[in-house]
């Protein structure tokens, strides 16, 4: 007969064994393997050859790599502020005691649950320069047609628009939950003190929402750094590498050129950037604002 304590230990470990095994095989060990492969020259067929940091030095002196870094940063810069600001505005609007909030919540969330591959196909048609709906809408406002996916710079704008479309709803819903968690008596007190509506937003809502906003911003940055599907479907990194974001750069080197070592170095680079943001979230996001 096992003692209670032994039984607890045995059962505890038994219950967590499946995830422990799968995390080890598919996450922890691969992380180390990625580091290891990044130090090798390897095309999957011929044996690996240790090359030290050659992949990294090659990468850091490659114009294509820095182009990808730049494109990824531009994508982040293009998506993050707008999705957060728009999400915030919509969350505040939804929090004004209007009717049928649940209807709006559902409708703005549809892009989030939609498959990016399907959405990207439809957007490709919408962005079509000659027959697309978007250029037609522009013409209704008297604006000249755009080249969208056929132009190096406009293609990036197009995928940024898709990225914004996909994520605004998610950010709005989380920010709305943050707004609803602010206790009403703060506003009551402000009302008694004769504060204006605008003052309340500035002095109560925005400061108390800061931790949630921070969380949403970091999550959005990480999501934007990982953008992949819309690029594969809509542009394949082009034209002229204008939308060749880091994950696509990595994918192409690994699974089209079979440069496994080189691609792994890029993967480690991508990981480092994302990791920095995750640490930021853990460090500063922990300090939750206490409402009571």
């Amino acid at each position: 007969m096992l003692k209670r304590k032994q039984l607890d230990n045995l059962q505890g470990w038994l219950f967590i064994a499946p995830p422990l095994i799968i995390f080890s095989v598919f996450i922890f060990i691969p992380m180390l393997v990625a580091l290891f492969i990044s130090l090798q020259k390897w095309n999957l067929l011929s044996p690996m050859r240790f090359v030290g940091f050659a992949n990294y030095s090659k990468m850091f002196s490659s114009g294509h790599f820095w182009n990808s870094v730049m494109v990824s940063l531009l994508y982040v810069a293009g998506t993050v502020p707008i999705t957060i600001l728009l999400g915030l505005i919509i969350a505040i609007m939804l929090n004004q005691g209007i009717r049928v909030v649940s209807f709006y919540r559902i409708m703005i969330y549809l892009p989030v649950i939609t498959s990016m591959a399907a959405a990207a196909i439809v957007f490709q048609y919408l962005f079509e320069p000659n027959i697309g709906l978007f250029n037609h809408i522009l013409s209704l406002f008297g604006l000249p047609p755009m080249q969208w996916l056929n132009d190096r710079h406009q293609a990036l704008i197009a995928v940024i628009i898709v990225g914004i479309w996909k994520r605004v709803g998610y950010n709005a819903i989380i920010l709305l939950a943050g707004l609803q968690a602010i206790p009403g008596y703060y506003y009551d007190a402000a009302t008694i003190d004769g504060a204006s509506r605008f003052q309340m937003v500035r002095k109560i809502t925005i400061p108390l929402l800061s931790s949630v906003t921070f969380f949403v911003t970091v999550m959005q940055i990480i999501a934007s750094l990982k953008v992949f599907t819309s690029i594969v479907i809509m542009t394949e990194g082009g034209p002229a590498r204008g939308t060749d974001v880091l994950p696509y750069f990595l994918y192409k080197n690994a699974f089209q050129y079979h440069k496994m070592g080189y691609a792994s170095a890029a993967a480690i680079f991508l990981f480092t950037i994302i990791f920095i943001f995750t640490i930021l979230q853990f460090k500063f996001g922990e300090k939750k604002v206490h409402y009571q």
Binding site: P19, F26, L250, F271
Partner: protein
């Protein structure tokens, strides 16, 4: 006091009208792609190429839907996706609930360390470890099999975390009473905890199902045959081969999204509340 709050926090009648108008406008804009997808999928070629574009097809064309069902085995892709997604959802609910139960209720050695390590998995994006995972699957001969599509996703730190939070709210008295009654742990989990946490379990299952249904990068890399193809990859393949047959492409897109949207309408409450919780708990 509460009367006062309601007065201040809810806007005036006119203000609300403006807000609702703006929100409605936003909803309309955001949903243009859905409208365009459905509308295009029923158009004949001349209307597809017409400029200015026509909002609605003047005559309904079902060829797109017919083609994807007959020229390519879209039914097979659909079943594949459904099978993979349901398997992942079911396994995830079961495995995550066992782990969450251990973390919430069993005082075992090393618990906090392991929990911390589990949470750490959320810091590692799949994009980064895709090459080693491809190699692993190649080594064990799982490339282009259902195993490759299912097994790596049957556990997840997020679902364990979510369920643990939920299980911890179940009062201790209930645990003690059950243990005194000689109720084993597994039985306790199935007979007491499961019925009490139906919403949380459903939420975990739904997230898993949705994530799997929409996943793209992983199946793109680990499958290549027609037999193992899932819908998202089929969309890419169709796009590569049919290029500008927008009727068929949008029909295929509709098949990939409409079931999910219908499902979402039924379970949106669970879903959106779950999202809110994760956002707030960080």
């Amino acid at each position: 006091m509460s009367k006062l709050r309601n007065k201040q926090r809810t806007s005036s009648w006119g203000m609300k009208l403006i807000l609702e108008f703006l929100l409605l406008l936003f909803v309309l804009i955001v949903n243009i792609p859905f409208f365009w997808m459905i509308s295009t999928s029923f158009k004949y070629a001349p209307e597809i190429l017409a400029y200015p574009p026509k909002l609605f097809p003047s005559k309904l064309n079902f060829d797109g839907y017919k083609y994807i069902w007959t020229l390519v085995p879209f039914g097979r892709y659909f079943i594949n996706t459904l099978f993979v997604s349901i398997s992942i959802a079911v396994c995830k609910i079961i495995l995550a609930s066992f782990s969450a139960y251990a973390f919430a209720k069993i005082p075992f050695k090393g618990k906090n360390t392991v929990f911390f390590i589990f949470l750490g998995t959320m810091m590692i994006p799949m994009e980064v470890i895709i090459i080693p995972n491809y190699i692993t699957l190649n080594l064990i001969g799982w490339l282009d099999t259902y195993w490759a599509l299912i097994i790596p996703f049957i556990v997840g730190a997020f679902s364990i975390f979510l369920l643990r939070q939920f299980f911890m709210q179940i009062p201790r008295d209930l645990d003690d009473a059950a243990i005194i009654d000689g109720c084993g742990r597994t039985r306790y989990l199935f007979t007491i905890i499961y019925p009490l946490s139906k919403p949380a379990l459903l939420t975990v299952g739904l997230y898993a199902f949705l994530a799997s249904w929409n996943s793209f990068l992983w199946p793109l890399i680990v499958t290549n045959s027609d037999k193992m193809r899932v819908i998202q990859i089929a969309l890419k393949a169709l796009q590569d081969s049919w290029m500008i047959d927008w009727t068929s492409l949008t029909a295929a897109s509709a098949i990939a999204t409409v079931p999910i949207i219908i499902l979402f309408f039924f379970v949106q409450k669970q879903f959106l509340e779950g999202i809110a919780i994760t956002g707030l708990k960080g």
